[in-house]
Symmetry: C2
Subunit: 470 residues, 2 copies
């Protein structure tokens, strides 16, 4: 008999017919003449209750199964008689496929998120991680749908990179010599001779696909990346990963205003898509015992979806912050013009002052990358960050400097080498146009929408300092 | 005036109205009283012809523009009077945004694909690469659509890996110590002390996401990856990249037959999607002067889309090959049972014998990875490769060994360390189920469908030995 997914049974309300389901046991409860087995096959948040009658020949074996065991069940689908009627199956035969034993790490008693991080290969079998990862899937689909509908083309920017694009220096080196340096060719200074390495030079894991995105926007008009990016900074926080996924659209002929609007529409689209396609998952996540978001996070998201995002310049933001009564909120870092906007400031703006996502624009050039377009005031650049309550920055973007002279002047000020970026400068030499783009940290957006408070819990196998298992 | 994409103008047949378009000049042809400017904005293969009348105040400047220059034009859209009527624009005003000069590398005279590889930052501005990369986009969209429709969840498997999953050893090492080994901590043997490296151990660029895919299939039921994978083999061929994208579905409760059917449906879906959504691009590519596919490649693809894929076992394939008349085709490598199926064999089967994609199954276990399910004959495994004409293998897959004892026995035979894969073995300890999956090399599928003959021309920025520019 053809296998049915449990999702299909619930969605299409399939009853009064025989069917086969396969999945893993979430719980077994034995009463006098029946065993109640809750089966989940991963297709949806909802499981299927199966009633196993003691008359079944292998009843004793089935009733003795432990959580996590895999079975195939053929039986009749009927509407159950509970307070909230739900479809259930009356088993006609049960095949035991794969058992577990008492050593199975995922036992019924509440397993902490921290413990589950050490069981990253198994945690997807829990309600919580099933929910999170299905939401992750839906937000990835929403991303492709959003950009494709608007005529953007998906760009796979390279992961192995020969340049340090952000100038931040926090990059992983890639090498085929490093595995055994005792046998590797070395320079006079005792360094690895990268000229004899696989790529003939030192190479890195990309921190961004933006520069290549700019190349492609100049040909295809509007592109977006959606791929892994890397930082080797030694940050052990709940908001940082060494490997994370970013979405980076880049649009030719666009300015900062258009890109801010695009970013706003995109965030709203993500929220809307999740509310439509993963409602069961969100409801489950917000009602978890150790959830750190408020129970009405769904309403908060709906409010954000339907509201205009606040927009302030950096200068206005600093004015707001400098007027905050210190008896209400005392900041650790200064709030004078020319100081960096710190996480405490970002969170105050989004969570306390505006209680909404807020777009901060026009930062002092000193805090931002070399490629951002200089404003006429000569001291700020056409940059934006989008800050959301609970998380802080989830998007950073800018209009790019499209004037060759101004761009090279800025690179000189920063003592940057221009030679490795000859190709990037070519974009300003040949048919240069105004253009702009942004980067969304996918996991931060996921934290915001799922309400999970640790970024390690919204990516399947997190990589952080001293942590690369599985 | 709101900007129109050129794609929209052609698709929605917008005429007898004023509009603004922005893009890059593909050619300028000056006649007595007019200049004919062909403008492309990347949104589609089709450009828009613009007629610039000499009465325009900046006519001389516009008529003197070189290919590659960026302009914004406002004018009236009308149906042109050529042999094949096409929409064109009568310019009312032209704004010059960014010029090029004679040093612009992409000049009109046919630029070879080889030369363009050195201009990977600019080549997207050509008709050929615009076409290829839009097809790439559409096949990525087709991939997500295909799997999502069937209830698969998208999995982002990790890029930074602590294990050598395939046991092939052709991996890149990732390190924060390698950049300057003169200052790095070392072991007594003179190797880098990876215990003091960023992750506390040696780490690699992932060659596959399959093992993590298996973990997730055991929770979500059916998953697929679509991400970059890496090989450090020193292969300088037209079919190898050091960094390439793979799609790896993994399905719980599935056997080899089901996965072979899934792979067939997927390839057909890709073809069908491209024929529907990127027809202009394919027509252009197949009619290129230096195209290496036949002009009727479109018919070939339609035939493949509508036909049953051939299916043979490795044993049958060897029988076919061993019976080939050497006066027709003389193989370099042996065709006796127990010999490897070489590229020459694969291509003969797909191109000469079957003239169709062919699925070869049940290979001798010696040629395949440790995790493949052993057949009752004890000497072949439940593996499959899909071979396509012109390319060779584009898919490799298998049913996985789900029996813990058999799997560990095979690992012992191969002298594999079991400790690093404790988590992978856990999948067979707890709720183990039959499961299967495959990997499609995205660029090889793209070569097949676009008809491009060098894999470096179907990925935006190719990485190969000694080659990591941009």
């Amino acid at each position: 008999m053809k296998r049915h997914l449990i999702k299909t049974i619930h969605e299409e309300k399939i009853i009064d017919t025989d069917a086969t389901v396969k999945g893993w046991i979430r719980s077994v409860r034995n009463s006098k003449k029946f065993s109640f087995v809750v089966l989940n096959d991963g297709s949806s948040q909802k499981s299927l209750q199966i009633i196993v009658d003691e008359v079944l020949p292998n009843y004793a074996d089935v009733a003795g199964l432990l959580m996590g065991s895999a079975i195939s069940v053929t039986g009749r689908l009927v509407m159950g008689g509970g307070k909230i009627p739900s479809i259930e199956m009356q088993a006609k035969s049960v095949e035991i496929i794969g058992k577990t034993d008492e050593s199975y790490p995922l036992q019924k008693k509440a397993t902490s998120l921290e413990f589950l991080r050490e069981q990253a290969h198994l945690r997807i079998r829990t309600n919580t991680f099933g929910a999170v990862m299905r939401v992750r899937h839906h937000l990835a689909m929403a991303t492709h749908e959003f950009f494709a509908k608007r005529g953007f083309f998906y760009l796979n920017s390279p992961i192995i990179s020969g340049v340090d694009a952000e100038g931040a220096g926090e990059m992983f080196t890639i090498s085929t010599l490093a595995s055994d340096i005792s046998k590797a060719p070395k320079t006079k200074e005792g360094k690895l001779d990268f000229s004899r390495d696989y790529f003939g030079k030192e190479t890195f894991l990309a921190v961004t696909g933006q520069l290549e995105g700019e190349c492609y926007a100049m040909g295809l008009g509007a592109v977006y990346t959606f791929g892994p990016t890397f930082r080797s900074e030694n940050s052990n926080t709940t908001r940082h990963l060494s490997e994370f996924w970013m979405i980076e659209p880049e649009v030719a002929f666009a300015d900062l205003d258009e890109i801010a609007e695009l970013a706003t529409d995109y965030i709203k689209y993500l929220i809307s898509y999740a509310l439509t396609n993963a409602r069961d998952e969100l409801e489950f996540l917000y009602s978890r015992e150790d959830a750190t978001v408020e129970k009405d996070h769904m309403n908060t998201l709906m409010h954000v979806r339907d509201s205009k995002f606040m927009r302030v310049t950096y200068t206005e933001a600093m004015e707001i912050l400098s007027k905050v009564d210190p008896s209400i909120k005392r900041f650790e870092y200064p709030t004078t013009w020319g100081s960096e906007l710190q996480t405490e400031h970002e969170r105050y703006l989004a969570e306390v002052h505006f209680k909404m996502p807020v777009i901060v624009t026009d930062y002092p050039k000193e805090f931002k990358a070399f490629y951002m377009k200089l404003n006429p005031d000569q001291r700020t650049v056409r940059a934006m960050d989008i800050l959301v309550p609970g998380i802080g920055e989830i998007i950073g973007g800018s209009q790019r400097e499209d004037n060759l002279d101004l761009l090279t002047k800025r690179m000189d000020e920063l003592h940057m080498q221009k030679e490795p970026l000859w190709w990037y400068l070519d974009l300003r030499r040949f048919g240069s146009v105004p253009h702009a783009g942004f980067g969304l940290g996918f996991e931060r957006a996921l934290m915001y929408i799922t309400g999970m408070s640790n970024i390690r819990d919204v990516i399947p196998f997190p990589r952080t300092p001293k942590n690369c298992d599985f």
